[in-house]
């Protein structure tokens, strides 16, 4: 009976982590949509909804602690709980990054740098997180390595996008005596865009973290952790 209850708790933890990932991914998509459409209401929903993710994170953290303390898991169970403990941290951080994106939405000016395709970048990192969580759910170690490889491409895309913005800033001709307001607007757009690129790159990093913990969970292989 006690062991059945223990197994149920493990199953519940897995289900809850996957539920948290769905919630986080939804917020991430909403954050990107808000940024794309300058949708302040949607942005507010994302920002105000972050506490829900934070609370879920704390609840699942407590579940992990309870399992460790009361069931004293070993072997595969131990790796599953330890990995889930780390995965929920990554998901919580992705939730924070979604609120960042939503926070940029109100003042974002996508037209100033049309060559930087934030939405495509966002779609790519969202797909990485989705696949990382699928790998976690299905214990797919091949997918873990694939996601790690894809992050290299994301890093390269982000670096190229950042260079595009900086190069444009350097080459931009604003005339001999530009109004102060125009300078400030350009500077805010540039820094906001650079932060957006950095945040999306970090989402990709968290997807790799999730993959690394999944690989460890399944095969006790720490190759992707280091």
């Amino acid at each position: 009976m006690a062991r059945e209850s223990y197994q149920e708790k493990l199953d519940d933890l897995r289900d809850d982590v996957l539920y948290m990932s769905e919630l986080v991914l939804e917020r991430l998509r909403d954050g990107l949509d808000a940024l794309d459409r300058k949708d302040e209401e949607l942005a507010r929903t994302v920002i105000e909804g972050d506490h829900e993710i934070n609370q879920l994170y704390l609840d699942l953290e407590q579940d992990c602690i309870d399992l460790l303390a009361l069931q004293q898991p070993v072997a595969g169970d131990l790796r599953f709980i330890a990995s889930s403990f780390k995965v929920i941290t990554d998901l919580e951080r992705i939730g924070d990054l979604a609120t960042n994106l939503a926070g940029y939405a109100e003042d974002a000016d996508q037209d100033r740098y049309p060559d930087v395709d934030v939405q495509s970048l966002g779609d790519a990192v969202i797909a990485m997180v989705e696949d990382a969580m699928m790998a976690y759910a299905e214990e797919d170690t091949d997918a873990c390595f694939d996601i790690s490889d894809r992050d290299d491409e994301i890093d390269e895309l982000c670096e190229r996008a950042s260079q595009t913005v900086v190069r444009d800033l350097i080459e931009r001709e604003v005339g001999p005596d530009p109004p102060q307001s125009e300078i400030e607007a350009i500077m805010q757009d540039v820094s906001r865009l650079l932060l957006t690129i950095r945040d999306l790159e970090r989402v990709g990093d968290h997807a790799v973290n999730i993959s690394a913990r999944t690989l460890y969970m399944v095969e006790s292989d720490d190759e992707l952790i280091y």
């Binding site: 062991r3 004293q72 898991p73 070993v74 072997a75 595969g76 131990l78 790796r79 006790s220």
Partner: protein
């Protein structure tokens, strides 16, 4: 001379006191009374008769440097060791190496042969009617089942502590001194008793009541008294058969701490049903499963974090056994 080299010398037959030598003798096997868990500590009667005869050579040739010798890290080695009780096989052919001055835990479900294996190490199974042992159990390279090995002398070097604390109805001091006296060991008894009680982390609690009965102590204290009795004659190996299973958590914790401390000077082999205890206190873990099969033997960390065998994974996570 430190304790370790002192014991090594005794085994090599180089120590000054011939009475301490666990030599090959024709001493009669232990009496039937000693077959009882409650009465058989590491030593019974028996006096060595030839200091030149060595039970076991503690050195091995490295072979790669022209014949120099080094101490072997493996102190106990079983080779295809198997045990039958009558027609029933209790232990399938088992091969494993137990490292020196480490804690090796043996875990597994009831009836898996773990206690049977433990008892082979100091030939306690000799005392069980119908028990036959095949294969080899080597202690420092010498098969302890060779005809020229005296089991009584062997048990002097390989002590044992049992599940249930079993102090004799004697004083605390007499309990600890018992092993020394029956072996006619020429030592300062008071000093040896104090040393053993200190090593067993019991001295501070009983130093003012050494003449009180050992039976008046708490369960945890009684078990540490038995450990003191086991280590008083300064054995090399201490076998423990579920030494904390009858104790409360506080007493268990003290015994576990003690086991860890003892491993600095002794090789400890402990059978336990408590897997968390095995994880806490041992360096190596052997997992026996039903049918008397040694399924996996590895570093404790590996066993409890990433066992190789699915049956071990299922057993330690509570899905089997």
């Amino acid at each position: 001379m430190d304790a370790k080299s002192d014991r090594a010398d005794r085994l090599r037959g180089e120590a000054g006191n011939p009475a301490l030598h666990p030599v090959m003798t024709d001493t009669a096997p232990p009496t039937a009374a000693e077959a009882d868990d409650g009465g058989t500590e590491q030593n019974a009667s028996g006096t060595p008769d030839d200091e030149d005869d060595v039970l076991i050579d503690t050195t091995v040739s490295t072979g790669g440097d022209g014949g120099s010798t080094v101490r072997s890290d493996t102190v106990i080695e079983s080779r295809n060791l198997e045990v039958h009780y009558g027609d029933e096989q209790a232990l399938k052919p088992t091969t494993m190496e137990i490292p020196e001055r480490r804690v090796t835990a043996i875990i597994g479900p009831s009836g898996c042969g773990k206690s049977t294996f433990l008892r082979c190490i100091n030939r306690m199974n000799d005392l069980i009617d119908g028990c036959t042992v095949d294969g080899e159990l080597r202690f420092r390279g010498k098969n302890v089942y060779d005809e020229d090995v005296d089991p009584v002398a062997l048990r002097r070097t390989i002590g044992m502590v049992f599940q249930k604390p079993n102090p004799f109805p004697k004083s605390i001091k007499e309990n600890v001194a018992y092993g020394l006296e029956v072996q006619d060991m020429d030592v300062d008894v008071d000093a040896a008793v104090e040393k053993a009680l200190k090593r067993a982390a019991l001295w501070d609690e009983v130093k003012d009541q050494l003449d009180s009965s050992g039976l008046d102590l708490s369960g945890g204290q009684q078990q540490r008294l038995c450990i003191a009795r086991a280590i008083a004659p300064d054995p090399e190996v201490i076998l423990m058969d579920e030494p904390a299973s009858a104790l409360d958590p506080v007493a268990t914790s003290k015994v576990e701490d003690l086991i860890e401390e003892l491993s600095e000077d002794y090789t400890v082999v402990v059978v336990t049903h408590n897997m968390q205890q095995a994880a806490r206190i041992s360096d190596k873990t052997a997992v026996f499963l039903t049918g008397g099969e040694l399924v996996e033997f590895d570093d404790t960390q590996t066993i409890f974090e990433n066992p190789n065998d699915d049956r071990v994974e299922d057993y330690i996570t509570g899905k089997f056994g």
